[in-house]
């Protein structure tokens, strides 16, 4: 797994208090990992912080799963 994926996974595990094994490629933050809409806002903020990037609101809305996050960050950092 890439360094980016590891770092994203760590953030997701910490913020959502979920088992690392559940954070799979297609795991949806809301449907599979118990997040609500405010949790996803906070996750995006944490990604911005960790990777020193800015994720515009329209892009943030497309980040629904662990895979989405890794893909977006890989392409934009």
């Amino acid at each position: 797994m890439s360094d980016i994926a590891d770092r994203v996974k760590k953030i997701v595990v910490e913020h959502l208090s979920v088992d690392e094994a559940k954070v799979t490629e297609n795991a949806s933050f809301i449907d599979d990992l118990g997040a609500d809409s405010l949790d996803t806002v906070e996750l995006v903020m944490a990604f911005e912080e960790e990777f020193g990037i800015e994720i515009p609101d329209d892009a943030a809305e497309t980040i629904q799963s662990f895979g989405d996050a890794v893909k977006f960050i890989s392409e934009n950092s």
Binding site: H15, L38, E42, M45, E48
Partner: protein, 419 residues
């Protein structure tokens, strides 16, 4: 009007987490005061407060993880976590965690706070200033709003009745219990979880109350002596923190399910001073009128009162309240015991009225008045027994609990034994 009784109690106080643990310690004359540990207060005029004993949850310590998932705690200010702990204790004590929708629809929540998420607001203001608006947490607002104690409790237990929150400074807890009781009396609910919560021990909280000259400052070397209501050398209140919640229930509803009944809320009075933003009217007429209104509602006379849990903050206002109580009691003054439990707990602001109502209820249950600590030299002479230093065993059938707040807002509750 429907009768309202108390069937569950819960509290987190500077003496302990838990009702019985707190009560045992208060009767023994223990104090919750000490040098502030939550932050470095050495640069402030006041370096002490009454902090909740934090720990692993054993021996009366408070472990927030016992009451709220760590993941959820991170999203709320501490005053909400305190309220969750007190509410959980109260509904467990009352054995009221209904599964039936009909019961949930008839159960409401009214937990207030004087200030709410003060520390969260302070921290977020710094984040905003230093790092900009994009770094403000989405949980900042719902974690700091005062009515989110009631919101969070309702969500946890599915209570879908009236959901409300009181904000009347240091009268909050008493107003919440009184107003919630009225909702039951008026048939808007059968059960209400009511109380107050406060987490003001932070740099901004101490600095703010220091600035308005409300806090004690002279006892940095001996904090347990600092909260000394009625003493000639008192110099201000000692900040406390914590929460208190009661389960209020319509009398027939409680009887029908065989609930343990602690006491009845027989009277509730409210008044305004219309005088000053922080000081009470010098003749104490606001407090006098709230007590008078509460007794009128109870259908009792001053001679029926056995115990008064005073507002008694250890400020100049103590003697104003004492004068008002003495005038109200008249010839009956000599048979009443009045104490200030703030001498042991400090002043929990919006939670004070709630924990003091609970102390009044326990005074009725155990027929003992908790003591006023540090009272060796009273500022004035009075016929009223102020229970100095030691708890007073005595007959207590009717207790009056006073709470007065900044802005000139007064609330008095009358609680009575149920035979």
């Amino acid at each position: 009007m429907r009768r309202v009784v108390v069937t569950g109690l819960g509290m987190v106080t500077p003496l302990a987490c838990g009702v019985e643990e707190t009560w045992t310690r208060i009767l023994k004359g223990q104090s919750g005061a000490g040098t502030i540990t939550q932050f470095d207060a050495s640069h402030l005029p006041t370096t002490y407060a009454c902090e909740i004993p934090r720990g692993d949850g054993s021996d009366g310590t408070y472990n927030p993880d016992d009451w709220m998932e760590p993941k959820e705690q991170r999203k709320v200010d501490e005053f909400i976590t305190f309220a969750m702990a007190a509410a959980e204790q109260a509904v467990t004590d009352a054995n009221w965690k209904p599964e039936a929708e009909a019961d949930r629809l008839r159960t409401g929540v009214m937990i207030g706070s004087g200030i709410g998420g003060l520390q969260s607001i302070a921290e977020t203001a710094v984040t905003l200033k230093e790092r900009g608006p994009r770094r403000v947490s989405p949980f900042f607002i719902p974690g700091a709003l005062i009515n989110l104690c009631s919101g969070q409790v309702s969500i946890r237990y599915g209570f879908k009745g009236p959901n409300h929150a009181v904000v009347t400074a240091c009268s909050t807890g008493a107003h919440a219990i009184g107003d919630a009781a009225r909702l039951i009396m008026l048939d808007d609910a059968d059960v209400m979880v009511a109380g107050g919560s406060e987490a003001p021990i932070s740099e901004i909280g101490i600095a703010g109350f220091n600035a308005c000259k409300a806090l004690s400052t002279k006892w940095n070397d001996d904090p347990v002596k600092a909260s000394r209501p009625y003493s000639a050398d008192r110099d201000g209140f000692v900040m406390g923190e914590g929460a208190g919640c009661v389960v209020l229930e319509e009398y027939e509803h409680a009887k029908a399910r065989g609930a343990k009944i602690y006491a009845e809320v027989v009277g509730y009075g409210l008044s305004g001073d219309a005088y000053h933003i922080t000081a009470p009217a010098e003749d104490g007429n606001g407090g006098y009128r709230s007590m008078e209104a509460a007794l009128k509602r109870a259908g009792l006379t001053p001679a029926d009162v056995d115990y008064v849990n005073a507002h008694g903050t250890s400020t100049m206002a103590d003697t104003i309240e004492l004068g008002a109580v003495a005038r109200l009691l008249g010839d009956a003054a000599g048979k009443v015991t009045m104490s200030s439990t703030k001498s042991a707990t400090g002043h929990l602001l919006g939670a004070a009225g709630a924990i003091e109502a609970i102390f009044s209820i326990l005074a009725i249950r155990d027929q003992v008045a908790p003591p006023t600590l540090n009272l060796e030299e009273p500022a004035v002479e009075t016929e009223i027994d102020l229970a100095p230093l030691e708890a007073r065993k005595r007959e207590i059938n009717v207790a009056l609990s006073n709470s007065f707040g900044f802005g000139g807002t007064n609330a008095s509750l009358v609680l009575a034994k149920v035979d």
